[in-house]
């Protein structure tokens, strides 16, 4: 998924290079007069640089109505940290470099959680940010009470998680603190936050200034959202984090009946004047890896902008959005996103509709598995590589390479390519046929997209079995 993102960027670069050469060629042809040639070459080189190097000091900021924080429209999500090549170890040097670069270009919001990146995200973020301690007031740290495990649902357990976050992040106050992933059920909400008295504790912490903004992140059912949002009168939610992108705007509920359309969530927040923090603007990279006809349509309009940039401009356009979080694994992602927001050129109403209505409708017909590779389900106790399996399936599907029509001339080739690429991507013992449907990925863990993982595994397993039988 990340690869695809960077591929798209490369495609973008390729295009701009070509147009650059065109400019160069035209310039040279026109420049019969002396020194005109040199001048246009310099200008073209600058143009070229500007297309990949975001400018400093141009970031678009939004104001938090409660605290008056000026928050950068691009927020750094620390959920998909880079690893050292060929290992599972996180690359702290790269993280430091990217955070420095982000700060330099005006990014001031950093979002993490105690459970991200095998529990190491807060530590990595803390190490990187501690190097900027002298400017602590200039950036905002967001983390979450991710008490999914019963061990952390007692008052002591939850408080421990809260205090641990501060020490891992090496800070003495948190700018934004979230109740993590609300939406499953009210019983769960009560169990995690109310009956154990944690909500009162957090309110006191906010009073004491150790939590500057208190809010929640939401994935799930509409009735739960409504009910928790109604508690605004009691708790005063300073912000709410929701999933918003051009596919989920109108289709989140259709993709999954357990989810709510972003248009509804955003409208409800607007009614109460609560700023929205946006997650999944790119749907885990899926909105950067779209079918070719969508690529053509978007590139015709903005030949020099990446496909991903459309998703970021879309998520950043509504005025009630405080910041848009992106898990930028690679420097290329960071630069490309900065280009989208330094400064933001809002989408026109017509452009918004093109994405969230016309193209989203076309994409819906593709019936992809709505996996964002967020890794919440992982690790599977039986070793299944769930996100890789879904990503592979989706990739083959969007690229139109899913063997389906047995009568077609393409079928044999597609079958071979599907099976070979499956083995290349996923070890045999981690493939869907080894899923035993124990359901721990959805009972003990949590899928924000409410994908029925065991059922989908079974379906893909049967699909693969059918391909193999058809030797």
């Amino acid at each position: 998924m990340n690869n695809n993102h960077s591929k798209n960027n490369q495609a973008g670069c390729g295009l701009s290079r070509r147009s650059f050469l065109k400019v160069l060629g035209a310039g040279a042809a026109a420049a019969v007069a002396a020194c005109a040639g040199k001048k246009s070459t310099d200008a073209a080189a600058d143009d070229y640089k500007n297309q990949v190097e975001p400018p400093v000091g141009k970031m678009t900021y939004r104001t938090n109505p409660t605290t008056g924080d000026k928050v950068s429209l691009l927020g750094y999500g620390m959920m998909r940290l880079p690893t050292k090549e060929g290992t599972e170890d996180f690359d702290q040097d790269m993280i430091n470099r990217q955070i420095d670069y982000a700060l330099e270009h005006g990014v001031n919001y950093f979002d993490t959680s105690p459970v991200y990146c095998r529990g190491l995200s807060e530590r990595c973020t803390g190490i990187a940010l501690a190097r900027h301690k002298d400017k602590r007031k200039d950036f905002f740290v967001a983390t979450k009470l991710s008490n999914f495990s019963p061990d952390f649902q007692s008052a002591e357990g939850a408080k421990k998680m809260y205090h641990d976050s501060m020490s891992e992040l090496q800070v003495d106050y948190l700018d934004y603190y979230l109740l993590h992933a609300i939406g499953g059920s009210m019983e769960e909400f009560d169990k995690r936050y109310v009956t154990n008295g944690i909500m009162d504790f957090l309110l006191a912490e906010r009073e004491a200034g150790r939590i500057r903004n208190l809010g929640f992140s939401f994935h799930g059912r509409q009735d739960v959202f409504d009910e928790v949002l109604a508690m605004h009168d009691k708790y005063h939610w300073d912000f709410v984090q929701i999933e918003l992108n051009w596919l989920d705007w109108n289709y989140a509920n259709e993709i999954n009946s357990g989810n709510v359309d972003a248009s509804y969530l955003y409208a409800e927040l607007q009614k109460k004047g609560i700023p929205a923090v946006i997650m999944e603007p790119l749907l885990g990279g899926r909105l950067a890896n779209v079918p070719q006809y969508v690529v053509s349509e978007l590139k015709q309009r903005e030949p020099e902008k990446s496909i991903a940039s459309w998703a970021f401009r879309y998520a950043g356009t509504p005025e009630g959005v405080l910041t848009v979080l992106s898990g930028m694994t690679y420097m290329e992602h960071l630069k490309d996103n900065l280009l989208s927001y330094c400064p933001l050129t809002p989408l026109t109403e017509e452009e918004q509709q093109l994405l969230d209505t016309k193209i989203a409708h076309q994409m819906m017909e593709e019936e992809l598995i709505p996996c964002n590779a967020c890794q919440y389900c992982m690790p599977c106790p039986y070793g299944i590589d769930i996100p890789a399996i879904f990503t592979h399936y989706n990739k083959m599907k969007t690229e139109g390479r899913l063997p389906s029509d047995k009568g077609s001339a393409e079928y044999r080739r597609q079958r071979r390519e599907y099976l070979i690429s499956l083995d290349r991507t996923i070890e045999r013992d981690r493939q869907p046929d080894h899923c035993i449907k124990c359901g721990r990925c959805i009972s003990e863990k949590h899928c924000p997209q409410s994908i029925r993982i065991p059922a989908e595994m079974d379906r893909i397993s049967k699909f693969i079995e059918e391909l193999k039988r058809d030797a």
């Binding site: 998909r80 599972e88 095998r118 890794q375 106790p381 890789a388 981690r430 899923c435 079995e465």
Partner: protein
């Protein structure tokens, strides 16, 4: 001329048979499978009358050309001998036939076949020895080379090559193959066809016919100047220049002597005909490169570990359960049929695409194929081993037939089963059983909510091992297949 034809045919056969063993994609046998089926011993064991008659006729007409062009081990030795001759010219000498040794070995060999002592005849049989060398030494190298290409192909987004598992299927067989190869290199390098003319039982049987063949290498004593070059270049040590005699039981009709004789005193003729045209044209060295290519490709496989933020739970590799009765592939009819027919050539092992077949390490069935399901199971769409077997040890079956052949049956170890123990819901064995022989049933008949256990219908189970392969319990699966000594149709 004779020599040129011999070298051309030998090259074709050696390359063909080598590729037949190296190929793991299951495609080569369509074109080259007949070369394995043309092997003498295997044809006899498979009662392949057409091949047997053809070989008898060919030998009665042409002498032991079988040993020079069809037998891959013979050709392999010629290559070693050729290198030996490069190192030292005119290195051979005449020796007397060791009749007693040849007949004793042949006698023991025949007794071993009849008595079903597989190990003995498999060790001596030439084509099996070749198969073992190819399958345990050269196929892994070939596969590693393929994996390098697959790594490159992956980077180029190409699907021309795909990666395959390379693993030592049996250490004893690898050791036997290495020892055989080294022994052959030394013997052939120094003395040419020693093995073929003293030990090889196929050579001995053919020599009985070759003594009476129509066409033979014959001496023209008038032209001979007793220079001894023919004797010194005879890899079969069968020409005595002093007495102008040739032992046709050992002559493999290679034609080297004809080429070495500067006076045209040796001719390949029938008893009646008088020497016709000879063509002492310079021989071309077209053959030799053949199989050493593979070793050049040997490099380490590209390690491909996926990076995932959520982390992957470690998985223990599966281990083979100790099967009381070994599993033999569908089509092999029974353990005794396998023992009687299999020459241990490993061709089936090199073809198995599911990593199921491997040579047995059990002494009574050493080197014969057995099945195990740690890396895959005997998939319903595959009948490759039955298609390639030249010796009738695995009879040809089709896909429909395969799903009705019971080679064993599954046994559940309740104490290990995660479902039965109530640790997790599972039922993966039930879901993957291709014949629907497994059903998950409540462990307490009166309580539908009690943990479910797999119930195997032994009468319907065919022993394919799908259940054992997909069982999540590691390293020893909670359901495993026990073999049947005699296969049954169900």
């Amino acid at each position: 001329m004779l020599r040129k034809i011999r070298i051309t045919l030998a090259t074709i056969f050696l390359l063909g048979l080598t590729f037949l063993f190296l190929d793991f994609t299951g495609t080569a046998h369509t074109w080259l499978g007949w070369m394995a089926k043309a092997q003498a011993l295997e044809a006899v064991l498979a009662l392949n009358v057409v091949v047997i008659i053809a070989l008898v006729v060919v030998t009665l007409v042409f002498g032991r050309i079988y040993c020079s062009v069809i037998c891959p081990l013979g050709i392999l030795q010629d290559i070693f001998g050729w290198i030996g001759k490069k190192a030292k010219k005119n290195r051979y000498s005449y020796s007397k036939e060791l009749k007693w040794l040849r007949y004793i070995v042949m006698g023991l060999f025949i007794i071993a076949i009849i008595a079903g002592i597989g190990v003995f005849f498999q060790l001596l049989a030439p084509y099996s020895a070749f198969g073992r060398i190819m399958s345990s030494i050269f196929q892994p190298l070939y596969m590693l080379g393929n994996n390098v290409l697959a790594g490159i192909a992956e980077r180029a987004d190409s699907y021309t090559f795909y990666s395959v598992d390379v693993w030592i299927k049996s250490l004893p067989v690898l050791i036997i193959a290495v020892v055989t190869l080294i022994a052959l290199i030394i013997l052939a390098w120094r003395n040419g066809r020693t093995y073929c003319n003293t030990i090889c039982p196929v050579g001995t049987v053919l020599s009985l016919l070759a003594r009476h063949s129509l066409l033979k290498i014959r001496f023209d004593a008038d032209k001979c100047k007793n220079c001894s070059l023919c004797t010194k270049n005879c890899k079969a040590s069968c020409i005595d220049f002093k007495t102008h005699t040739i032992d046709h039981s050992r002559c493999v009709v290679c034609g080297d002597c004809i080429k070495s004789c500067k006076f045209g005193a040796l001719k390949y003729t029938s008893p009646t005909s008088h020497a016709s045209g000879t063509s002492p044209s310079a021989p071309t060295d077209s053959s030799r490169r053949s199989f050493l290519l593979a070793s050049a490709l040997a490099t380490t496989a590209l390690a491909q570990k996926k990076l995932v933020d959520g982390g992957l739970a470690p998985i223990k590799a599966k281990q083979a359960p100790g099967r009381v009765t070994p599993l033999t592939p569908p089509g092999s009819l029974s353990a005794s049929n396998m023992e009687k027919h299999c020459t241990g050539c490993q061709l089936c092992v090199t073809k198995c695409p599911n990593n199921v077949l491997r040579p047995s390490t059990d002494l009574t069935s050493l080197m014969q194929p057995v099945m195990s399901y740690e890396k895959g199971y005997c998939r319903p769409e595959c009948t490759l081993c039955s298609e390639v077997c030249p010796a009738g040890a695995i009879k040809l079956i089709d896909k429909a037939e395969k799903s009705s052949i019971q080679i064993g049956h599954a046994i559940v170890t309740i104490g290990e089963c995660i479902s039965a123990q109530g640790r997790d819901e599972c039922g993966n064995c039930e879901r993957h059983c291709p014949v629907g022989a497994i059903e998950m049933v409540p462990s307490d008949p009166d309580d539908d909510l009690s943990p479910y256990v797999p119930a195997v219908n032994e009468a319907a189970c065919i022993g394919c091992g799908a259940c054992e392969y997909v069982c999540p319990v590691r390293p020893f699966s909670a359901i495993h297949v026990e073999g049947h000594e005699v296969h049954r149709k169900i």
